[in-house]
């Protein structure tokens, strides 16, 4: 298979970026999207040109590093998977593929497709935890949790922090990401003590980082590689209201 790529190239945070065209040749359908980029980069290095910089690590859809916009969609044309899980068999031979970084004010571009998502970490630091120190905790089975609740909490906790929800949202809202953590801990007995403070602190930090607000378009859920449900946003909003009412 052969493809034409239009890739966003940007030297650094402060410089202007632009699209550059490349051709990807001799690509096989079993290659992953990132392996296709590896092949393009291999050719660029051979020509002594700088390869396309992109974040990646696990290459199995769990570390959340590889977020990018492919053919106008966060993580590309697939449902429930990260860019590294996209295979070239999802494209038609000869396709023109545009590749750009996730765009959001709160996610500045560092270089080419690499963005700075540390805003997510700061939201977590604001309240995405249960305040327990190491040691002195009760036996694990002393806290029974109904299976359905545990499963629901797990589904929210499966978020990989990739930022696709933000990139897909026209308001660049981080609501789905924040709601996933708020929900997980609101569902579990361990999270009850700090329920009120947590939702307030995390949402305050979210605003401070410059993410937009949610207008219920559900674009986030559609593009989320872990298919985190928007019902979590509703739960977060209830949590916030409850907190505000005291």
């Amino acid at each position: 298979m052969n493809f034409t790529l239009k890739v966003w190239r940007q030297k650094n945070r402060n410089s202007e970026g632009r699209f550059e065209s490349y051709t990807a040749t001799n690509i096989t359908p079993d290659m992953s999207f990132l392996e296709m980029l590896d092949a393009v980069n291999h050719d660029l290095v051979e020509k002594n040109q700088e390869p396309i910089a992109f974040d990646h690590d696990c290459r199995e859809g769990i570390c959340g590093s590889c977020g990018m916009f492919i053919k106008g969609r966060a993580h590309g044309p697939q449902k429930g998977g990260a860019a590294c899980q996209l295979h070239m068999r999802s494209f038609v031979d000869g396709d023109l593929i545009t590749v750009e970084p996730f765009r959001a004010q709160a996610f500045p571009v560092i270089k080419d497709l690499i963005i700075d998502r540390t805003a997510f970490d700061r939201i977590m630091q604001a309240g995405g935890f249960v305040s327990v120190n190491t040691g002195g905790v009760p036996d694990a089975n002393a806290i029974p949790i109904p299976k359905t609740i545990a499963d629901e909490a797990f589904s929210a906790a499966a978020c990989i922090g990739c930022g696709a929800c933000v990139a897909a949202c026209k308001n660049a809202s981080a609501s789905l990401f924040v709601a996933a953590k708020v929900s997980q801990l609101a569902l579990l007995p361990q999270g009850q003590q700090e329920r009120k403070e947590r939702v307030e602190a995390m949402l305050a930090q979210m605003d401070k980082e410059g993410f937009g607000s949610c207008s219920n378009t559900y674009a986030c859920e559609a593009e989320c590689p872990k298919e985190i449900s928007v019902s979590n946003i509703a739960r977060m909003n209830r949590e916030y209201l409850k907190a505000a009412l005291g």
Binding site: G128, A140, D151, A157
Partner: protein, 637 residues
């Protein structure tokens, strides 16, 4: 130098408690005067950094990732062990201890393994308290499953994403300390060197990966929790950027490297599809609980699996090992898969695969049941191969997965460099010659939550630390050496990409230092690697600039170290003239092709001292004493 493992006296069950009582404490109000650098934010690093900060130490945490949460630990699927005996199947600390020592083929320290088994229960308690959503039974209590090498169900899990949930737990504890200002975290920092001053580890030099600047971090102790070195093989199940640079550069500064040849090859991975493949994907071995492994009885049988009748299939693990069946330890399962493929009975287009079949499980319990337990793994398989494993058996083949070897540490997890501690997969400590499933997560968190917080206090309380500044010559010299190395890499301007050279190294290792090894092959590997290393330095090409974000340069530094480490792995494998665990020397096998140990000559830890690049390292031996378990030929029949 004689190696002192500092194993406490007394009966096995009492060693850790006695030792803890004898450790010197740092007075609570003095803790804030000490500064600890923790490199790595995987399970081991994040749990250590958080726990030390909670105690009041000042902690600097750094990693090459953008966020602590992206560490390789995130990818662990299957589960974490603890002998809670919740299922009432007669599990105990002793049984986990025994299984681990035996599973490691009697090449691990009894005292370390026992401690690991002892603290493992507290890990589960800790994680649950943090809100880790482990799988539960309908009654609301925690669910357990069994895992390779064990006959009890002691594995706690969170669907197929246990590592993710445990790491997010540790990350949340770390985040809380960062918010409090007790931990200073630096992202996108690549450790380039360890700095030793007056015989003590006092800091690290890191490369800021965004602008290429070399930065100095000073502390009273340094903890390396930088993960394993499986990527020396190029293709492995590890995250693409997992590397050995931190531990290798510390090795060059005096830390001994133990048992480098003990590398685990995992039996259940998705087979290689093409040359372009950049990594291999593990299918959690929990699949072996319900999937049955088989190949056709006939050589070269190309029929579709559904057309091969039952009596023409060879369920070879069930045949060879009636009591453990498909649940034999990893090394055994991998070696047997290679054997049947070498016999020409492998399946798939390459013939380098065996079937893992769920037809019986689906017939017995229904598709939904299988989907509940393994749904995400089946999805992952389909995504990668395009095949539906509910309808046709999965194809699997062994792949490099985990490194039992690593920097040598004593019972306190301190390396041979005073003040430098090594945790998690980066050390060699607890798994001997083969690690059992679900035991790495356990070890990483044991090291970080429940061992280092105590043992580091003793080191800090019993040593004096001179104030040092960034302009100390040890730091400036180290920076100079790194800059020179970078310059040498950048100016080579050869013809080959870093990946090409890395792939070639990987092929040499897989061929000669992989699942089966022999003297001639190992010698050949050593000379091939030596030649390739020379070529690397003259023929590598790195575009771009050194003082910029430059992924090719990052890789080049790592591969430069792999080129040296690869040779040491081969040397270690050559010197160990026995088979044990994952290390199969073809010359040393029983009549039934099982690993044949030589306890008289090789019941020791091989700890290598750096002898200079391209020079032979010096071997030091730490004798292993078995006072509580009887050394037997492992049998899973």
């Amino acid at each position: 130098m004689t190696l002192d493992a500092k194993i406490p006296d007394g009966p096995l069950e009492k060693k850790w408690d006695t030792h803890r009582f004898n450790l010197k404490l740092v007075n609570p109000s003095n803790k804030r005067k000490y500064h600890i650098i923790v490199v790595g934010t995987g399970l081991a690093g994040a749990s250590a950094a958080a726990s030390l900060a909670e105690l009041g130490y000042r902690v600097t945490s750094l990693c090459y990732h953008e966020s602590p949460r992206r560490a390789h630990s995130i990818a662990a699927q299957g589960g974490i062990n603890a002998p809670k005996n919740y299922p009432n199947d007669d599990d105990s600390i002793w049984r986990l201890f025994y299984d681990t020592v035996k599973g490691g083929d009697f090449r691990a320290r009894e005292a370390n393994v026992y401690r690991l088994a002892q603290v493992s229960g507290s890990i589960i308690d800790q994680c649950v308290a943090q809100g880790v959503p482990f799988a539960r039974e309908y009654g609301g209590l925690l669910d357990n499953r069994s895992f390779g090498g064990a006959q009890v169900s002691r594995t706690f899990y969170a669907r197929g994403q246990t590592g993710q949930q445990l790491l997010l737990g540790a990350y949340s504890a770390l985040s809380r300390q960062i918010h409090k200002g007790q931990v200073k975290f630096y992202d996108r920092r690549d450790m380039m060197d360890l700095v030793v001053i007056d015989g003590q580890a006092r800091g690290v030099i890191v490369r800021n990966m965004i602008n290429g600047e070399l930065e100095t971090y000073i502390g009273d102790a340094v903890i390396l929790a930088t993960g394993g070195y499986g990527n020396v093989f190029y293709l492995s199940t590890n995250a693409k950027q997992s590397n050995a640079t931190a531990i290798w550069r510390a090795h060059k500064k005096g830390a001994f490297f133990a048992n480098p040849c003990f590398t685990q090859i995992h039996p259940t991975c998705i087979p290689l599809a093409s040359e372009h493949q950049s990594k291999l994907t593990l299918m959690s071995e929990s699949l072996r609980n319900d999937g049955r492994i088989w190949v056709p009885k006939q050589k070269g049988d190309k029929r579709s699996p559904k057309d091969i009748p039952m009596e023409e299939r060879d369920y070879y693990l069930e045949r060879l090992y009636p009591s453990f069946g498909n649940l034999v330890p990893r090394d055994v399962a991998s070696r047997r898969a290679k054997e049947v493929c070498d016999q020409g009975r492998g399946v798939g287009s390459t013939g380098l695969a065996v079937y893992l079949d769920f037809a019986d499980a689906i017939a017995r319990n229904g598709k939904q049941w299988v989907e509940e337990k393994y749904g995400n793994l089946f999805d992952m398989y389909q995504r990668i191969t395009g095949e539906n494993a509910y309808q046709t058996p999965m194809r699997i083949y062994p792949a490099v997965h985990y490194t039992m070897g690593g920097l040598w540490v004593d019972y306190n997890l301190m390396s041979t460099i005073p003040g430098m501690f090594v945790l998690g997969e980066a050390n060699f400590s607890d798994h001997g010659a083969n690690r059992l499933g679900a035991s790495a997560l356990m070890q990483g968190l044991a090291d970080g939550y429940f061992v280092i917080p105590y043992t580091i206090g003793d080191y800090l309380a019993t040593n004096k630390f001179k104030p040092v500044k960034e302009d100390h010559e040890a730091f400036t010299e180290s920076k100079k050496a790194i800059s020179e190395k970078t310059e040498q890499l950048m100016s080579a301007q050869g013809k080959r990409t870093v990946d090409d050279l890395h792939k070639e190294l990987g092929k040499i290792l897989w061929e000669h230092v992989g699942m089966a090894r022999n003297e001639a092959g190992l010698k050949k590997a050593i000379s091939m690697i030596t030649a390739l290393r020379k070529q690397f330095w003259s023929d590598v090409r790195i575009p771009g600039k050194a003082n910029d974000l430059n992924p090719e340069l990052e890789k080049a530094h790592r591969v430069a170290d792999f080129m040296e480490l690869g040779e040491m792995i081969a040397r270690d494998a050559l010197h160990r003239e026995e088979s044990c665990g994952c290390h199969l020397r073809e010359e040393y096998q029983t009549d039934e092709n099982e690993a044949k140990r030589n306890d008289k000559k090789f019941a020791y830890v091989a700890a290598w001292e750096f002898g200079g690049t391209g020079k032979a390292p010096k071997l030091h031996k730490e004798a292993l004493k078995f006072e509580n378990v009887h050394l037997t030929q492992r049998s899973y029949k």
